[in-house]
Amino acid sequence: MTTATEPMKSKDYKSTVPPTWCPGCGDFGVLNAVLKAFADKTMSIDDTVLVSGIGCSSRFPYFVKTYGMHTAHGRVLPVAAGLKMSRPDLNVIAFGGDGDGFSIGGGHVPHVVRKNTDLTYILMDNSIYGLTKGQVSPTSQVGMVTTTTPYGAPDNPVNPLAFCLTYGATYVAQAYSSKSKQVQELVTGAMEHKGFAFVNIISPCPTFNKINTFDSYKESLEEVPADHDTSDLNAALKIALRAKEGKTPIGLLYKVERPTLVERLTEIRQKAKGDDNFDLNKVIDQYIP
């Protein structure tokens, strides 16, 4: 993690672009907590890149002074991965929504996860498509009435935590937008983690989701037990599956160490005796008849 030399306050990270979110949107809480985490770690503005997909939540990078990329719907992870592979010196943090990450971009998640790609991925989960004004999302509950499911959503939701755990993520946490302190802690932990770190942040959309509201979460939130062993995959999965009981576990579910993508690529370059000044005649000469 590259850090700045001067002490920083969270407002020092704010760009001049005012957030475009509706009043009361859960994403404000995420922004504030993430900037606090940045300040706490004195993250370098120049060496940090926030990469996002498309959605309300994916506007995140505009509101921050660091470098950033606002890419295409669902492509945040492979863009961020390409950047990290070629510039491992940077802090690369990926942002997006539930549709961006688990519907259109869902095919990328298993691979970025299994490779233990050195990224932090912060997903703002509102169980709805916000930007397109209220369609069913891959984390919406069965039966949910939205603009495209007037008779109720027919599909089972995905479980983002179980999904990432199963594919071998090395850091998996869930937080709740209004619990700022915990968001900050879990995001800090994710940024410090070596390898792929996933933080699913429940971030209600009061404008379009009338089912999963700040009120409803008061009932369903449930802290990860204090004695939970975060290196125990089965225990972590059990907590993740509390969603089936209508519960929303928050806290750190899982954290282990395993070689990362950047480390593996470094090994390959070492095996090949990688050299910036390698003489290409040596390659050409292999093709002399």
């Binding site: 672009v17 503005i45 120049d46 060496d47 940090t48 890149v49 990469v51 990078p61 505009y62 002074k65 660091t66 470098y67 950033g68 990329m69 606002h70 890419t71 295409a72 492509r75 492979p78 863009v79 961020a80 991965a81 390409g82 950047l83 990290k84 592979m85 070629s86 510039r87 010196d89 940077l90 095919g107 990328h108 298993p110 691979h111 690529l265 390959i268 370059r269 095996k271 090949a272 005796k273 990688g274 050299d275 910036d276 390698f278 003489d279 290409l280 005649n281 040596k282 390659v283 050409i284 093709y287 002399i288 008849p289």
Partner: protein, 579 residues
């Protein structure tokens, strides 16, 4: 016996019978002995079984195309004979597996020199390994036409030495048995005999796909991500071996969308980056091609075309992705498309692609094709120290005084300095949304117009920058040929043949195919109002673009059978339209 200057040998048989590996070997042997070589291969889409063909053209002069037909046909089985029978011309040679193979009868074709060689039988009975059949055939071919006998042995030693001397000996024995059969049992009646060449020092032999990889290395590529697809995979295979040596990274992505996304991320970080694919992958990449155009992130995409649409003809020849490459992606997306004519071009147009991408901060596509990708040919070795490498215009902290950095600053040239993460004061959000010069989203009509004009206007100087259009003038020519991609070599040969027959014909070979090099094309059309565009696609894709962007009324000559043009086909068409 007359010495042949130009000889085409076609070898046909079942995929998996070692046709490709033995063909590669005799090609290399010939190149080692100083001959020019150019190969043409078709294989079935299936791993095993099905008809495979390997054709080699040998010459003492630079070879322009795979040629028209063949002088020698070597059939490993009945299917190969059935497939090619109608193409056997008088005066040519037929070598075939008989007796002992699945060809039931001795062949007597009028005017054709028929040489039965019991390759299967010799392999099974004398060498007790059926797998040496291909080497028996090579031995006979080498003996009959005096091609690379000594280098062939050297190559066997080099290639199989690692597997132990036993394997080498088996192959030597097979080679000798084939040669012996030719010497003792065949009466050579044909006139084909290759003169020994002079071994050349600065020659290499490489395939079109490998040449794209080599071009990328020479240009300074440091990041490559791709998803395997025929006929483009060899680009990735080549780079996976060599890219780590220059401290570059290569990954196999989960799909083509991810591979281009990877490449865009890497290039945003300041690293020269590339992907390679074929039509189906290029279809998947369309959204992100537009994004890189909008973000003005330099990327290079090689598309080794195959027969489409959908899965189409994965292993066959077609040049039908020009519309997609030039006109694809939604919205008004500026991009550049280059198209190499041969293996050497695959090197230099790829370095050029990187230079254009860097200079203009645009996506650049390279349209190769399956037969060029698989073609190996002898070419002059490139000199890495002579390759021009252009780097993108980089933001320099403090260069603008107190003025805040603007990533998309409106400049005279339309090109704006790009900062890379880590540079103080260079912070910006690279975005696919329409944006102000600062990079902040902005949708105002004035801004929209000026930004669109910037992204297109910066390419106004491109035609002079690349100089990839070659004009072959001829006074009094009745017709001007316009060819692109690997059809260029075939057209060159057709033009040469036409002129030898006294037909006056001119030609233009644009290797920058989008945006069209209009200055050169319009000047050409003015001199030669009647133009002929041969291309391997149904719709006449280049001809259509020419009709769209110029006043030309080109005559389209389209074929789309999965095979490339032969020089003779284009020659006949030139004669027909010259009347």
């Amino acid at each position: 016996m007359t010495k042949a200057n130009d000889l085409i040998i076609r070898i046909g048989g079942e995929g998996g019978e070692g046709i490709i590996s033995s063909g590669d070997m005799i090609t290399q042997a010939a190149a080692r002995s100083g001959l020019e070589v150019l190969t043409f291969k078709t294989f079935p889409a299936e791993i095993r079984g099905g008809y495979a063909m390997y054709q080699i053209r040998f010459s003492h002069e630079v070879i322009l195309s795979e040629g028209s037909g063949f002088n020698v046909l070597c059939c490993f089985n009945k299917e190969a004979l059935d497939n090619n029978r109608s193409q056997i011309e008088k005066g040519s040679v037929l070598i075939y597996d008989f007796p002992g193979g699945d060809i039931a009868e001795e062949q007597n074709i009028e005017g054709v020199h028929c040489y039965p060689v019991p390759m299967s039988k010799i392999a099974k009975e004398e060498l007790s390994t059926y797998r040496s059949k291909n080497m028996v055939a090579m031995g006979a071919i080498s003996e009959l036409f005096s091609i690379g006998a000594i280098p062939l042995r050297e190559l066997i030693q080099e290639k199989f030495g690692k597997k132990g001397q036993e394997v080498v000996e088996i192959n030597f024995k097979a080679l000798d048995a084939g040669a012996k059969h030719a010497r003792e049992h065949l009466k050579k009646t044909d006139p084909f005999q290759m003169d020994e060449g002079k071994p050349q020092k600065d020659v290499m032999i490489i395939s079109g796909n490998e040449a794209i990889g080599l071009g990328a290395l020479l240009a300074g590529v440091k990041y490559f991500s791709a998803y395997p697809i025929t006929p483009a995979t060899e680009v990735a295979i080549f780079l996976s071996k060599h890219l780590p040596k220059v401290n570059g990274n290569l990954v196999q992505a989960e799909d083509e969308i991810a591979s281009l996304a990877n490449v865009i991320g890497a290039s945003y970080g300041g690293v020269k980056s590339m992907t390679a694919t074929s039509g189906p992958g290029l279809s998947l990449m369309q959204e992100l091609i537009g994004m890189s155009s909008m973000m003005e992130v330099p990327v290079v995409i090689a598309d080794v075309q195959r027969g489409g649409p959908s899965t189409g003809l994965p292993t066959k020849h077609e040049q039908s992705d020009l519309f997609l490459a030039a006109l694809g992606s939604h919205g008004d997306a500026s991009k550049v498309v280059l198209s190499p004519e041969g293996v050497e071009d695959c090197i230099y147009l790829t370095t050029e692609a990187f230079n254009i991408a860097e200079q203009y901060q645009v996506p650049v596509l390279i349209l190769s094709d399956g037969s060029l990708g698989f073609r190996t040919s002898s070419i002059k070795k490139p000199d890495p120290s002579k390759i021009k490498r252009i780097e993108r215009l980089k933001y320099e902290p403090g260069a603008n005084g107190d003025k805040p950095y603007e990533r998309y600053e409106l400049t005279e040239s339309g090109i704006s300095a790009m900062s890379h993460p880590g540079q103080p004061g260079g912070n910006y959000i690279s975005t696919g949304l329409e944006h102000a010069p600062s990079s902040a989203p902005r949708y105002s009509p004035e801004n929209r117009v000026s930004m669109t004009d910037k992204r297109f206007g910066k390419l106004d100087t491109l035609e002079d920058f690349v100089q990839a259009t070659e004009v072959d003038d001829m006074d009094g020519a009745q017709v001007g040929v316009i060819a692109w991609g690997s059809t260029i070599g075939t057209a060159r040969e057709a033009v040469k043949l036409a002129r030898a027959e006294g037909v006056k014909v001119a030609a233009i070979y644009p290797k920058l195919v989008w945006p069209l090099p209009l200055k050169a094309l319009n000047a050409f059309a003015k001199k030669y109002p009647k133009t002929l565009v041969p291309e391997v696609n149904k719709q006449g894709q280049l001809a259509s673009l020419l009709r769209m962007k110029t006043d030309m009324k080109p005559i389209s000559y389209n074929i789309y059978s999965g095979m490339p043009f032969t020089p003779k086909m284009i020659l006949e068409k030139i004669k027909e339209v010259s009347k």
